[in-house]
């Protein structure tokens, strides 16, 4: 009982919410770059929040169902078909053994999630099945998906078919507004630098991956570069000597020695990770109380948003 990978696409990785409690031996947290789209895919299928799904970067994944089940695809918009029939995202779909599920390539946004009812049954390593290729840990032997991989899952014959109404679906634009809390060495950056960060536009460069997004724009250099290596949080805005910020993402190294201005909230790193090279970013500095309120309200909204009953 499984799905078979026919075409893996450019970069398809098995992910759950991530690996926690392992930084002390140097393992990164990993997990879905767009945690919001990932959460919707599992909720639409009635899965546990931590159920293992596939993060598909830029599209191109093709699977064949070897059993009957239900799937849901969320995140960056791309063409989805089951046996050649187009299907919408943000919606549960029934598949039967032999069905071919085909994802096209995304034109806007770049991370799409494919979840299956009950989640893929992958043996966790260090408490998680999140794949980190650099560490060779998680997923199937620490690797990205390859043709002929078998992804085990349960047989599900009957299941509610639910969908998320269009007005609740995220919009993946060509720009993102990132809210960050000041922290770490922010006292070493002067007020003019912080103002410049908030009143400038930055561009995503092509030197961006699951470890971090390298941005290009007005310099926010830190006068001091001498520091001891220290722990790096998700979303940390690291500023090397050239003054070009790097926003660190899920697969970041656990420690590093560059000055940091603070950290972008996770809700916004999710949007950042959907951007492509050349897309633009603006920053806004918020405090911890605002961050707490933003997160609490967003969680309440997520939990309270009703799903619609649909039919294929």
């Amino acid at each position: 009982m499984s799905f078979k990978v026919l075409q893996p696409g450019l970069l398809s990785l098995l992910q759950d919410l991530g690996r926690f409690g392992q930084h002390e031996i140097g393992l990164t947290s990993s997990g879905p770059l767009d945690s919001e789209a990932f959460a919707w895919a599992n909720r639409i299928l009635g899965n546990a929040a931590n159920a293992c799904a596939i993060e598909v970067s830029f599209g191109g994944l093709q699977l064949q169902a070897q059993t009957d089940s239900y799937i849901c695809i969320t995140g960056a918009e791309l063409d989805v078909s089951i046996n050649g029939v187009n299907k919408p995202l943000w919606c549960g779909h029934k598949v039967v053994a032999g069905d071919q599920v085909k994802l096209g390539y995304s034109s806007q946004g770049c991370r799409t999630y494919l979840a299956v009812a009950g989640g893929f049954n992958i043996d966790p390593s260090f408490g998680s099945c999140a794949t980190v290729m650099r560490e060779k840990i998680g997923g199937l032997n620490g690797l990205k998906l390859a043709a002929n991989d078998q992804l085990p899952c349960a047989t599900v014959l009957q299941h509610d078919q639910l969908s998320l109404a269009p007005q609740h679906q995220p919009i993946y634009a060509e720009s993102a507004h990132l809210r960050l809390v000041l922290g770490y060495q922010h006292n070493l950056f002067d007020a003019a630098t912080k103002a410049r960060l908030q009143h400038s536009q930055y561009q995503v460069t092509d030197r961006s991956d699951r470890m971090g997004m390298r941005l290009q724009g007005p310099s926010i250099a830190c006068p001091s570069q001498q520091m001891l290596s220290e722990g790096i949080a998700l979303g940390a805005v690291q500023v090397p000597a050239d003054g070009q910020p790097i926003v660190l993402l899920n697969d970041r190294q656990t420690i590093g020695g560059y000055p940091k201005l603070g950290s972008v909230i996770a809700r916004d790193t999710a949007r950042l990770a959907q951007l492509r090279p050349g897309n633009t970013i603006t920053f806004e500095i918020i405090d911890l109380y605002q961050a707490h309120t933003i997160n609490t309200l967003a969680q309440l909204k997520f939990d309270a948003t009703p799903l619609l009953h649909t039919k294929d």
Binding site: L27, S125, G183, Y184, S229, G231, A233, I255, S263, A291
Partner: protein, 236 residues
Amino acid sequence: MSRVDSIEIASENSYIIYFGEPNSTVISAEVSAKIAATTAQIKHQLGHHLLDLVPSYASLLVIFNSTNCDHLWVKQQLRSALSRPLATQQEASKLVKLPVFYSTKYGPELSLLATNAKLSVEQTIDLHCATEYRVYAIGFAPGFAYLGEIDERLAAPRLATPRLKVPTGAVAIADRQTAVYPAPSPGGWNLIGLCPTPMFNPQQVPHMPVNVGDRVQFYPIDQAQYVTLGGQLHEF
């Protein structure tokens, strides 16, 4: 020297505690011991609210689950952990002896380091083995332990062009730190030999022979002993 530790915001769900002088770049065993003790205390106090901890040279990053507790409560817990008289961790810190096959062939920078230190290769090896190092931090890659501090004479800057592939077990030096590469990876440290002891084993518990706060001492072995202990030889 002031001993005021500070708690700074790191992100929406993490604080970083800086120990000793703010923005100091001085490494001390005393500060490291305090970090190890505080790490244990915070694990105990935060329990399941804790997501992760990253102890390093002079700081401790504390990542908490902000969906079931708030930052005010966590900060209060951190303050209380810092104000508590901490049990000394000296007993808990173990001494780990690691064998090294020092070689100018398999440690391509060994001769250069000896020349810079105005020492023979043998004296350089003796110097690297003479010090009991402390594990100050683990990171960069799974199982990569930063050990310090090496004798000033052995200190060397990172290579101008990092190697694309440093082999498993490579014993390396950068500035006044030394380390054993747990797995093949790109790296810019100076290589002086090979250690056959696995530094990271996902299939075995514990996964690493050392923890932050432990002490490490190296001792020399020859090529035959290195191979007997399971070491692999890689050409450069």
